[in-house]
Amino acid sequence: MACVKPIVMLMDTPDETLATAAAGGDRSAFALLVERHYDRIYGLAYRLTGQRAEAQDLAQDICAGLPVKLRHWRGEARFTTWLYRVVVNAAHDLRRRQAVRAKAGIGWGDWEIARQDEIAAQVEAQDWLAQAMSRLPIELRDTVALVLGEEMTQAEAAVVLGLSEGTIAWRMSEVKKRLRAMAAEDAR
């Protein structure tokens, strides 16, 4: 094999070094990288989708696609920022597919109605978090997942979502406003 340059992978090797090595074909670096970040991927996927099963599927899809995705890793951002972006994009794709499917599903007969009912029941069974999250518009939900869920600064979240910091700040104030309105509504 040409250009073999073994490097020792330690538990404290920075993510960026691992990612660059993995993108270059280093198997152990890749293994360490996914192992290290699976929980993070799953966590954000859960916060974005609000459903365990969905988060699990999404995390698996992301892991499966990561080797190819890493080809585009240029080391321009922090690895976690890059990874968060991958997760957010994957969640968006999933939602879009679901939207198309839901539309196609209208008028599919009993089987589909039963399935839709089941989904509705699941939603109802969820706790306050799901209630609150599901009443927020999608773009606010994404912002909340990153800023509150992942404890990112507004600047970091802006980089992940490809938006300006001001937009994030506005969105967070919007979230606050809506949560207050929801609380007032629930109190009545």
């Binding site: 490097i7 280093d26 994957a90 609150a132 609380a183």
Partner: protein, 638 residues
């Protein structure tokens, strides 16, 4: 922070612990895919003991060897599909203007197949070539046992066993994942055996622009990227206009073949009518813009924005424009808007930024949905897909995508494809999409080309005047013993498809020209390539002076059934600069693809002929072609 936010934060922070089994499965899948990706990459990465450019066959062999040793490959369901990917992409290895051509070349980038097995799955024309190799797929499946014996080729195995390969990041070449649609050159046919030749017209021009971008980047184009008919059809010709009320008019010119004194060229030129532009129906355009990460380069998204801005100037207030982006975060960027609102449309265009992966299929669905909502009776709706062809996410099943587009085609929405940038241009998919979507595929490499496609020739590009145009020529064995269709390899039709309106074919836009060239050999000519048969082969009926008979079938836009137009092929039309120039370009294309039938005729002759026949050339397209020929000549001499 307020109480509400704190409560939400607390709830969000307590995310459930991942299921260990699911985690293990996901990690395993990640490693499998990593190995698979490496397997295909390792085999193609040049070794130090090779020169950077190894022979085509050697590389093929090395790659197939490596493939055989990969159990992972065999374990997937897509062995056949991956092989198809090889077939389509292989001819490219080591050619083409690789994106790093301008940089000091440290190593070649023959990583063609790593990223796009999906994209290269058999969409239309590519499928023809794929068939032969699919047969070998079962053999590969049986091969995993061979793995242990080939230590050097084996993938980086278990973590502890092997020092991890670590190519220097700076050396890592940008993967070139281009794929082109092509087929072998049409052979010489014997009229007595196969008197009928059938094909669909091809109004695309993408191939010429790809050839130009390769030559301008200093390398000869991959022969697979050369489709001669698209090169010929790139140029405007002044063919006689059709009479009032007719959609198009064929003009047949018989002339001596520039490269062979003993054969003749038959130029079949079709001129589409140019309806009164002032009374054209309103247009509904949906720009479907690829904003995936790969579109970042200056010659992709920025050029695309400029190009679409050019187009806007040509539209009228009653025309409507919508903008759909597809990539990670996609959706309708601009709802249907009157073309008069320039500022609004330009602002929406300006907002587009590259990022995320490509999900072409969902983008297409959304674009068609938007186009459907805009359509009113009598209006023309078209989706303009602008992409670098990186369809590697979202198409789970290329056949399904093709079917989807074909179905939408029947709903009256047209699809045109604008290709941008090089590096992972998936010409094969673009061709398949445009062909199935009743549209054209153009490749935009410069703002000038954008002007040609979207400004000067906008009417032709957006207004179809005849759909499903098929050409059938029956040759008269008394006059033509052998014939050869130059180009149109990817457009061949079965003889019986000609009368079958269910079989789709190309469409002619308003005011456009389509040219097809045959090289024909008379009986008894010294240029005959086939000896007469000793047995059989009935003597040709003497008498008719016709070389053959041309049948054209087309469907008026919106109509259900096709109509037929017939003309005998007889010599007599004067040879013009246009027909001579078309012949020069056909020669150019053949020189780029090997020039099997050209004899001694070479670059100098092609240049002379093109120069002599360039005519007024108001836009300079023809002189540009001459300069490209000069460049190709210089590159070929290296």
């Amino acid at each position: 922070m307020s109480d509400e936010l704190d409560a939400l934060k607390a709830a969000l922070r307590t995310a459930p612990v991942p299921d260990p089994a699911a985690k293990a499965a996901a990690l395993r899948l990640a490693m499998d895919n990593f190995d698979r990706l490496q397997a295909s990459t390792d085999a193609l990465r040049p070794k130090e003991d090779h020169p950077a450019r190894v022979g085509f066959l050697q590389r093929t062999k090395a790659m197939l060897m490596a493939v055989k040793t990969k159990p992972v490959l065999a374990a997937t369901t897509s062995v056949a599909a991956l092989l198809v990917g090889f077939v389509v992409i292989l001819p490219l290895v080591g050619h083409g203007p690789l994106p790093q051509a301008q940089k000091p070349v440290v190593s070649e980038a023959p990583e063609a197949l790593i990223a796009t097995p999906e994209a290269a799955k058999p969409l239309a024309p590519a499928a023809d070539k794929a068939v032969t190799l699919q047969d070998t797929a079962p053999a590969l499946k049986a091969a995993p046992a061979a793995r242990a014996t080939l230590g050097e080729e084996a993938p980086a195995g278990i973590v502890a066993d092997m020092p991890a390969p670590m190519p220097e990041p700076m050396v890592q070449p940008v993967p070139n994942t281009e794929a082109f649609a092509n087929a072998d050159a049409n052979p010489v046919k014997v009229t007595a055996e196969a008197p009928v030749s059938t094909f669909s017209i091809d109004v695309d021009t993408a191939s010429y622009a790809v050839v130009r971008s390769s030559l301008n980047a200093g390398s000869l184009p991959d022969p697979a990227a050369v489709r001669i008919e698209e090169m010929v059809n790139y140029f405007p010709y002044a063919y006689p206009a059709p009479p009032q009320g007719q959609a198009f008019r064929p003009t047949i010119t018989v002339m001596p073949t520039p490269w062979n004194p003993n054969t003749r060229l038959v130029n079949i030129a079709i001129q589409g009518a140019l309806p009164d532009v002032a009374t054209r129906p309103p247009l509904n355009l949906v720009f479907l813009v690829d904003t995936s990460g790969s579109m970042e380069d200056a010659n992709k998204l920025p050029l695309l924005k400029q190009s679409l801005a050019l187009l806007l100037a040509q539209l009228r207030p009653e025309d409507q424009v919508a903008l759909v982006a597809y990539a990670g975060a996609a959706g309708e960027v601009l709802p249907p808007t009157s073309a008069a609102e320039h500022a609004k449309i330009l602002a929406a265009l300006d907002q587009l930024a590259a990022g995320g992966s490509t999900a072409g299929a969902q983008g297409l669905e959304l674009a068609y949905q938007v186009a459907g909502s805009m359509a009113a009776s009598g209006e023309v709706s078209r989706v303009l897909l602008a992409t670098d062809g990186d369809f590697n996410v979202g198409i789970d099943d290329p056949q399904a995508l093709k079917d989807f587009i074909a179905k939408k085609r029947d709903s009256g929405v047209y699809l045109s494809v604008l290709g941008f940038g090089r590096g992972n241009l998936d010409d094969a998919t673009m061709q398949a999409l445009a062909q199935n979507g009743n549209g054209t595929a153009s490749y935009i490499d410069t703002l000038n080309e954008a002007r040609k496609v979207l400004f000067d020739q906008l009417t032709g590009a957006l207004y179809p005047i005849a759909d499903n145009v098929k050409i059938q020529v029956e040759w008269n064995p008394a006059q033509v013993a052998e014939y050869r269709l130059i180009g149109y390899e990817t457009r061949a039709l079965q003889r019986e498809d000609f009368n079958n309106d269910k079989v789709d074919a190309g469409d002619i836009g308003a005011g456009t020209q389509v040219t097809a060239l045959y090289e024909v050999t008379a009986p008894g000519s010294p240029a005959l390539r086939n000896d007469p048969l000793r047995y059989g082969s009935a003597p040709a009926v003497q008498g008719s002076a016709e070389l053959g008979y041309l049948r054209l079938r087309s469907v008026a836009p919106g109509a259900a059934d096709s109509s037929l137009q017939e003309t005998p092929i007889v010599p007599g039309m004067p040879v013009t600069n246009d027909t001579r120039f078309a012949a020069a370009i056909a020669g150019f294309g053949q020189l780029l693809t090997g020039g099997k039938y050209l004899g001694d005729w070479g670059w100098d002759q092609a240049i002379d002929l093109a120069l002599a026949s360039r005519g007024s050339d108001a836009f300079g397209y023809r002189i540009e072609a001459v300069n490209l020929m000069r460049m190709a000549k210089a590159l070929a001499a290296q």
